[in-house]
Symmetry: C3
Subunit: 342 residues, 3 copies
């Protein structure tokens, strides 16, 4: 697979600056790209590499102004990262054809209809009453419990498990090892100190275009549903507890956790290893720094950080002061001496 810089510019509606005939057959990062690679410059942090890269060509923004001589061919586009994504999707389709057909042995319960264009990998399990949309791809060793619905075009990677009754939307991507619909963590204490299990009778509902990263867990509701809204993207190893509701187009980085019955709004950006306490409400467009801990309701449009989380700028100032706290003790010691000697 090989394209010229001009062919790529034509696909993207971009403009070539340099050699339009240079042949490109791969993608690579700007630091390591060789002459056959197309690279890109989206993050200014990497702009110095543009002057030294061996890449055959680079996608740059239309308004990018070089500060040194550039030897690589430039392809100017509106949004280099979006253009890259567009090209990579094309390449992905060509390089990684999706599997189809039904591999054996697999287990499909009696009465379950498998649309013609689905893929059912070996050792996949589809329980009674499950409904699969067109083009669903169940990779090997996946588990689809009794009565589960999987919307058209959704891909479920190896070993992901969906417990009974849960609903997965259309065009979702569920990565390997994900567990959807395990029991929420609900127990009633008894007088002798032991716990009685609260049965978890609800479900998980995942809307359309959601992606869920490897080994993330989304628990079923005690009653009603645990909900992940349309277009939301969850990274790996995230915990979503019972009865949590997440809005649309929220992105959450790895190892974050949301405790029971919390609500997280739409278009939020949540850093890694964040903890969100149970029963609180986080608004829309909230940005949460990595490792933060949220203990209380948070209004729309906040940028917060720390544990307990506060305004991110205030957190940074506090952090600076804390790093000078030894100095402050020393200054107070001095003041006290001065006063004593007065």
């Amino acid at each position: 697979m090989e394209f010229s810089a001009q062919q790529i510019a034509d696909i993207l509606g971009g403009a070539v600056e340099g050699n339009p005939d240079i042949k490109l057959s791969t993608f690579d990062k700007i630091e390591t790209a060789g002459p056959a690679a197309l690279t890109f410059l989206a993050n200014p942090r990497y702009s110095n590499f543009l002057y030294t890269t061996d890449a055959g060509a680079a996608l740059v923004s239309r308004d990018f102004t070089p500060t040194q001589t550039v030897k690589t061919t430039l392809i100017r586009v509106d949004d280099p990262y979006a253009s890259l994504a567009q090209l990579m999707a094309l390449a992905d389709q060509m390089l990684n054809p999706q599997p189809s057909g039904i591999e054996q042995p697999s287990f499909v319960a009696e009465g379950v209809a498998i649309p013609a264009d689905c893929y059912i990998g070996a050792f996949a399990y589809v329980g009674a009453g499950a409904r699969l949309g067109e083009g669903v791809r169940l990779y090997p060793q996946t588990y689809i419990g009794r009565g589960v619905t999987v919307g058209e075009g959704t891909i479920i990677y190896p070993g992901a498990k969906i417990y009974h009754g849960c609903k997965i939307g259309r065009n979702c991507i569920i990565h390997a090892g994900v567990v959807i619909g395990g029991d929420g963590f609900g127990f009633a204490p008894t007088p002798d100190g032991s716990y009685n299990k609260i049965p978890q009778l609800g479900i998980v509902e995942i809307a359309d275009n959601v992606e869920i990263g490897a080994n993330t867990t989304v628990d079923r509701a005690t009653m009603g549903r645990t909900y992940v809204g349309q277009g939301t993207k969850l990274d790996n190893l995230i915990q979503v507890a019972h009865n949590v509701e997440i809005g649309c187009n929220t992105v959450m980085a790895s190892q974050s956790g949301i405790a029971g019955s919390a609500k997280v709004g739409s278009n939020c950006m949540v850093g890694g290893q964040v903890g969100i306490a149970g029963h609180i409400t986080i608004g829309d467009r909230v940005n949460i720094g990595a490792q933060s801990g949220l203990h209380s309701n948070t209004a729309d449009n906040q940028t917060i950080m720390g544990s307990p989380a506060i305004n991110a700028r205030k957190w940074m100032r506090n952090t600076g002061y804390i790093n000078r706290i030894a100095e402050l003790f020393e200054r107070v010691n001095q003041i006290e001496k001065t006063l004593k000697n007065q």
Copy 2:
């Protein structure tokens, strides 16, 4: 499935206040319940919803005194949450009959006896010398290693894996993706900077009535055993390292981790994302706030918070002061100016 408020009160030994004949066919949260739903009020945080809920009936405490007009039928019981659990367990039995029989293909090593009322799901693997108690349910794609013991009535959900030699008690619930008995993280450094693996020859022993959440990992001991005591409940994505010992009836929320050889007592409550250092001892009835870090031994009956964890009240006070640290610097600046000008 439909019950009247009176039928439900009779099951629970409760008293109806309102319409005893109202028909209830589902459970729901107080905020969203409709006329066919039974709801409950256990957490005072939600009491305002009682006056506006559309629920057909609500379980409330015998001593609950409404402060406004209540239109829903009340069923008064000693402990609304425990009563709810009791009803939900009944509903669960009716709605979610447990599977039974041996699905094919599954793999049972020669010589392993499967009691008549067990469930062995498709693609489950039972290794040589494994012993399964009566009523054990192995869901599809589970792995039971060589010589593993699983006590009667225990349920192991899809894709959970138990390495060789480990012992699981009776009436346990092991959720999807759990790994029990993986090698502890033990390596001996060598002079060239590389590491030699310390073989992990011990086992994991899980006592009766333990529940372990999805994708949690419990490592086998270097020698001896890693132990989880009776009635303890571990949430999802928890790490329990080699040679850890956890007492009875301790509940630990998601994404917490216990490092090697640490001991955690009985009846503790551990919040989410907590870290417990290796080789330390945590007493009984210790409450640990979310995201805490424990570096040293902790006596019985403490409530602690923070990293490093301290008394929770002190932690809250400190947090308040830290949020005023900029002010303190400013005040010290002023004092120094005043003294300079004296």
Copy 3:
């Protein structure tokens, strides 16, 4: 299996002090060892147990000087922990013979050659174009995607999944539930607030002698590779994001996470629940305390702690001062009063 203290000393090149004929048939920790057990003393924290242990014999350092009477037989060696590891490896080979052969049903794509001494467990899946080295052991329910390479002697435990195109080195140990090669978390925002997926076209490459703990996830690169260097050991439930590079012989404890494109050097020791931000570089021989958060580049040979991480000693001092912050406020109050009254 039984050895005398003298036989063990001969294997290790050690010297017996006490009864050379005592028979030993198991290993145990010094606190709990009985008369048939060999124990060891490596961590001085446990030295008091040496005087009370019931162990038949104990490995101790050649230069260990008892401070009380020792009743157990001592076997003096250069490095008790390394000697223990050596003996345990011998015991492991005798007690836990590795499985071999091909169990059925398993799935091996047409054209894939399985070397004679491999083990392919039941329900394992080997995709088209995969290459397995000699002695590879694929436990039940493992998934080896299209075009994956697994080097000789590598063990992949039950239910681990390797996505297409990834490369695993020789003599690696990949524990149950590990996911290697899931899509990196890359999305391009669109004007309407939704996200377009950036296809992740790169791979994961794992060098030789790497061990990866249960349910850890290592994402494939956007382009190029995500890399884990030779001899590195990752504990359970760790997240390694796309395009991360980790050097050689680095050990990382459970539940830590490394964000996209970060570089971590060689011979580092990373505590549990640490977060490393994206696009930063951590040098060689860096020691990072548990629960730290790294936001910026870190030079070689640092010992750091906290979030944001600073020099560990400074962090400890700061922590001490923070615990006295209430006192400092009170002292400043007093000073202000004094000045007001002057």
